[in-house]
C-alpha cells in the first residue's frame, strides 16, 4: 500500500482528507495551511457562513443553512448536530473519494462538538478510517462547555476509529505562568496543527523511511478508540535530545507515563537534509526503553526542504492497545517492526518478517489470560496481569 509514487491521481497511496469541523478547528487548519508547501485536501465544515467565507481553506461546506441560518451555532451543541444532519448528502460527497479522514474539532462550542460525530459516522459508513484530533476547553471556559465537550467526546468515540484528545488544561501546564490568553490559544492550535501535519507528512509523501496506511490502520483499529498524541521539537545541536525531553518529560504524555502504558505507538520524525541515522537510532532506542516490554514501535522519518538544523517528533500512542488476533497478525508484519538503523527499500522491508518479536508478544498476551482484552496494570515496569509465578520464572509441573 505504500508503494505509490506521488500524491496525485490514480496512485495507490493513502488518500487523506483533513477536515475541520466548527469555527475553532477551521481557523487552526487555516493557519496551518499558510505555511504548508504541498498541502493535502483540506475542507472546512461550519455553520457560520461569514467565518467560512473568510477562511483560507479552499474546500468549504456550509451545513445547516435552514436551521442555523448561516450563523454560528452559538454554543448550542444540539444545533450543531441538527445542522450536520441537515446536510448529510453534502458530507457524504465530501468524504467519498478518500481512505483516511483526519478530523479536527475544538470541543465545547456548538458546531464542532456535535457535528464532528456526525461527520465521523458518515466517514465510517463510507468505509474511511477516521482519526479525530480534538481539543477540550480550558477549565476557565466554564462547566457547561466542559460538559458539552465530554458528551461530544463520548459520541465521537463511538463513531471514529480513534480519538486523539488534546485537553487544553494539560497543555496549559506547558506554558509559563502569565502567558497571554491569545498566546495560550495559539499554542494549542499550533500543537493540533503540528500533530495533523506530522502525521500527514509521514503518510502522504515519499519519505526516507515511510510509515504506511496499514501501520496507522493497525494502530488505530486496535487502540480501543483512544490515542494519545505528543509533539516535541528541537533545534541546533542536541535537537534530538530537546525533542525527546519535551516529549518524554513534558506534560503532553504525562512525563512519559503514557508511553510506558502504551502497547503500540507510531513515531514520526521530521528533519532537514542533515537528519542523521544515529539520531533516528537514538530516538528509537529511547522510546524502546521508555515503552513497556513488547510494545510495538513503528517509526517513519521524513526529510523536508528548509528544515536543516530542525527536528520534530510526533508520537501517536495507544494506551488501550488490544493486540490483534492471530489471523490479523500477518498483515501487520510488513511495516510495524521497522527498525531505524537501516532503511532498506520498501519492498525489502515488506518481506522481512520479525517472527521472534511477534511470537513473544502473542505468547505474552496469552499469559495475561482473562485480562488480555483490558488495559494492562503496569507497576514499576512489570505487567501485573501476568501471573507472578510466571514473571519469576517458576515452573509448574503440569
Amino acid at each position: 500500500m505504500n508503494l505509490g509514487k506521488d500524491n496525485q491521481g490514480g496512485d495507490t497511496r493513502c488518500r487523506i482528507l483533513v477536515a475541520g469541523v466548527g469555527g475553532g478547528a477551521c481557523s487552526v487548519l487555516g493557519r496551518v495551511l499558510e505555511d504548508w508547501t504541498e498541502p493535502p485536501a483540506v475542507a472546512a465544515v461550519n455553520t457560520d457562513a461569514r467565518a467560512l467565507a473568510e477562511s483560507g481553506i479552499p474546500l468549504k461546506i456550509q451545513i445547516g443553512r435552514t436551521i442555523a441560518k448561516g450563523m454560528g451555532a452559538g454554543g448550542d451543541a444540539e444545533l450543531g448536530r441538527l445542522a450536520a444532519s441537515e446536510d448529510l448528502d453534502a458530507l457524504r460527497a465530501l468524504v467519498a473519494e478518500y481512505d483516511l479522514l483526519v478530523l479536527a474539532a475544538s470541543f465545547g462550542g456548538g458546531t464542532g462538538t456535535r457535528a464532528a460525530p456526525v461527520l465521523a459516522r458518515i466517514a465510517r459508513e463510507e468505509g474511511l478510517l477516521t482519526l479525530a484530533f480534538v481539543t477540550t476547553p480550558f477549565a476557565f471556559e466554564g462547566a457547561r462547555r466542559q460538559e458539552q465537550a465530554q458528551e461530544g467526546l463520548a459520541a465521537l468515540r463511538q463513531q471514529a476509529d480513534a480519538v486523539v484528545c488534546l485537553p487544553n488544561e494539560r497543555l496549559h501546564s506547558m506554558l509559563p505562568e502569565g502567558t497571554p490568553l491569545a498566546e495560550a490559544f495559539a499554542f494549542v492550535d499550533r500543537m493540533m496543527g503540528a500533530g495533523i501535519r506530522g502525521l500527514w507528512t509521514l503518510l502522504a509523501r515519499d519519505n526516507m523511511l515511510n510509515l504506511d496506511f496499514s501501520d496507522l490502520q493497525t494502530l488505530v483499529e486496535n487502540s480501543g478508540n483512544e490515542c494519545c498524541f505528543g509533539y516535541g521539537e528541537g533545534q541546533g545541536p542536541g535537537r534530538d535530545e530537546q525533542a525527546l525531553t519535551e516529549l518524554l518529560e513534558g506534560p503532553m504524555l504525562e512525563k512519559g507515563r503514557v508511553i510506558a502504558n502504551s502497547g503500540a505507538m507510531l513515531l514520526c520524525v521530521a528533519g532537514g537534509p542533515d537528519l542523521a541515522l544515529s539520531e533516528l537510532e537514538k530516538i528509537h532506542r529511547r522510546f524502546q526503553e521508555a515503552a513497556r516490554p513488547g510494545a510495538r514501535i513503528s517509526m517513519g522519518a521524513a526529510v523536508l526542504e528548509g528544515w536543516s538544523g530542525r527536528l520534530a517528533l510526533t508520537v501517536l500512542a495507544a494506551e488501550h492497545w488490544m493486540p490483534p488476533s492471530r489471523s490479523g497478525g500477518d498483515r501487520r508484519a510488513d511495516g510495524l517492526f521497522d527498525e531505524p538503523d537501516e532503511a532498506p527499500p520498501p519492498e525489502e522491508r515488506k518481506r522481512r518478517s520479525r517472527k521472534t518479536t511477534q511470537q513473544s508478544e502473542l505468547h505474552l498476551s496469552d499469559d495475561r489470560g482473562r485480562f488480555s482484552n483490558v488495559a494492562p496494570t503496569i507497576y514499576d515496569g512489570a505487567d501485573l496481569d501476568i501471573p507472578t509465578f510466571m514473571r519469576r520464572g517458576i515452573r509448574m509441573p503440569t
Binding site: P167, N168, S173, E254, L384, D385, P387, T388, F389, T398
Partner: protein, 398 residues
C-alpha cells in the same frame, strides 16, 4: 432531624451491591435493605461491558427497592480502580496574631489547590492535620502564630473511567449524589476510632482491585488502589494448572491458601478433567505457592509505597483486611509476615442493627459508603444550622 433513606451502590468487579440505610431516632444508622447480584461487565474495577454492568446493577437495585419498599432516585457510588491515587499536599498561609476560623478555612482551600493532569479529577480532599509554626497536629483555632499549614490527602482518579460508571448509574435514571473511593468507605465502616488513633492500615481485597487506606495519628495519611485482585489469583491458578476460569475459581475457594504448608507437599488434589481425558492431579503446595506469590507481591507493593512515605512505623494498630479476598485461608497470616504487624479480618462495625449476614468483610465497602454519605449529610445539616446561627448572631438574635 429527619433524613431521607440513603442509598449506596457498589459496582464491584464480581458483585454489584446496593445498600439502603436509614437514620434511627437516636441518630444511629441502620441498614434496612440490601440488593446483591453477581456482576459481569467489569474488569479490574473498571467498566468493561456497559450493558451487562447495567443489567447487574439494575437487578441489585430492584432487589433493594423491593426489600425497602421505596423508589430510589439518588445514589452514592463507591468506586475503585487502579487509576485512583492518593497525593499528599500541604498548604501554607502567613497569619498575623490569633488564628480564626477564616484562617483555617483559607489554609484548607490553599492545600486543596493542586494541579492535576486534565483527565484527572479529585474524588476526595481530606484534611489531615494542621501545624502552627512547625508544631504539628494542633487545633489551630485560637492559637497565635505566624505560619499556619494544613496537610491534606487528595484522592484523585481518571475522569473518563469514573465517568463510565456514572453513565451506568445514570442509564438507570438515577442521580449520582457523589462518588466515594471504596477504600475510604471500607475504612469508614471497618475501623474503630482507637485503631485510627494508633495508626492502622486497611486493605480491601476486592475482585479486581486492592484498595488501601493508611491512618497515622488518627488522620488519613495515604490512600490508593492497585489494579490486582482476587481475579488475578484465579487467573494465575487457571494458567498454572491449565483450567478454565470457573474451575480455577472453584479450586481457589475450596483449597486456596495464602501460605505454603508442609502438609501441602504430600497432598495431591484432583483437577477437573473433561470426559475422556486422563484424570490429572496437582500438589496442594503448588496451588499454595501460586497464590502465595501473588498475594505476597500485592502486599509487598503496598508495603513499598508506605515505606516510601515513611509511614510503616506509625501503624501501631496493625493491618485490617476487608473485601471478599479476606476469606482466603491464612491471608491474615501472610499480611502479618509481609508487614511485620498484627493483622485481623475486619467487617462493618460502626453501624447499629447489623444482622449477622451483613457483618462479613465483603460488606465493609458498601455499608461504609452508606455511612460515609450519612456522615456527609449530617455535616451539611450541621453547617446549614451553624450558618443560621451565625446569621442570627450578626443580627443580634443569638
Amino acid at each position: 432531624m429527619s433524613m431521607e433513606p440513603i442509598v449506596a451502590v457498589e459496582i464491584g468487579t464480581n458483585r454489584a451491591r446496593v445498600f439502603v440505610g436509614e437514620a434511627r431516632e437516636d441518630g444511629a444508622l441502620m441498614i434496612t435493605a440490601v440488593g446483591d447480584c453477581a456482576s459481569s461487565g467489569m474488569r479490574k474495577g473498571e467498566l468493561f461491558h456497559f450493558e451487562s454492568a447495567s443489567q447487574c446493577l439494575e437487578r441489585a437495585l430492584r432487589q433493594a427497592e423491593d426489600a425497602a419498599n421505596l423508589t430510589v432516585n439518588e445514589v452514592h457510588v463507591a468506586l475503585s480502580g487502579s487509576q485512583i491515587e492518593g497525593m499528599p499536599n500541604r498548604g501554607e498561609i502567613p497569619v498575623d496574631g490569633e488564628i480564626t476560623a477564616e484562617h483555617v478555612e483559607h489554609v484548607c482551600r490553599v492545600a486543596r489547590e493542586v494541579t492535576l493532569p486534565a483527565d484527572r479529577e479529585i474524588l476526595h480532599s481530606i484534611v489531615g492535620q494542621f501545624s502552627v509554626d512547625g508544631l504539628c497536629g494542633v487545633k489551630p483555632e485560637g492559637m497565635v502564630g505566624q505560619k499556619l499549614a494544613a496537610d491534606v490527602l487528595i484522592v484523585h482518579g481518571q475522569h473518563a473511567r469514573m465517568f463510565n460508571l456514572v453513565r451506568v448509574v445514570k442509564g438507570l435514571k438515577l442521580e449520582v449524589a457523589d462518588l466515594l473511593f471504596s477504600g475510604l468507605c471500607a475504612a469508614m465502616s471497618a475501623l474503630s476510632a482507637e485503631q485510627k488513633l494508633q495508626g492502622v492500615l486497611l486493605i480491601d481485597l476486592g475482585g479486581g482491585t486492592t484498595d488501601y487506606m493508611a491512618y497515622a495519628q488518627a488522620k488519613i495519611a495515604d490512600a490508593g488502589a492497585i489494579g490486582v485482585g482476587g481475579d488475578h489469583v484465579t487467573n494465575d491458578i487457571a494458567k498454572a494448572f491449565r483450567l478454565s476460569t470457573m474451575e480455577a475459581e472453584a479450586l481457589k475457594i475450596q483449597h486456596g491458601d495464602a501460605m505454603v504448608s508442609a502438609a501441602g507437599r504430600t497432598r495431591r488434589l484432583p483437577l477437573p478433567a473433561a470426559a475422556g481425558e486422563t484424570p490429572r492431579t496437582a500438589k496442594l503446595s503448588d496451588l499454595q505457592s501460586v497464590i502465595h506469590l501473588r498475594m505476597e507481591e500485592t502486599f509487598g507493593l503496598i508495603r513499598a509505597r508506605l515505606q516510601r512515605q515513611n509511614l510503616l512505623h506509625l501503624l501501631g494498630g496493625g493491618v485490617v483486611l476487608t473485601g471478599g479476598g479476606a476469606y482466603l485461608k491464612n491471608v491474615a497470616q501472610l499480611a502479618e509476615k509481609v508487614f511485620g504487624l498484627p493483622c485481623e479480618i475486619g467487617g462493618p462495625r460502626n453501624v447499629s442493627g447489623l444482622t449477622a449476614n451483613l457483618s462479613g468483610p465483603e460488606y465493609a465497602t458498601g455499608v461504609g459508603a452508606v455511612l460515609c454519605a450519612y456522615k456527609n449529610a449530617c455535616l451539611r445539616q450541621e453547617q446549614a444550622r451553624s450558618v443560621w446561627r451565625r446569621l442570627g448572631q450578626w443580627f443580634g438574635l443569638g
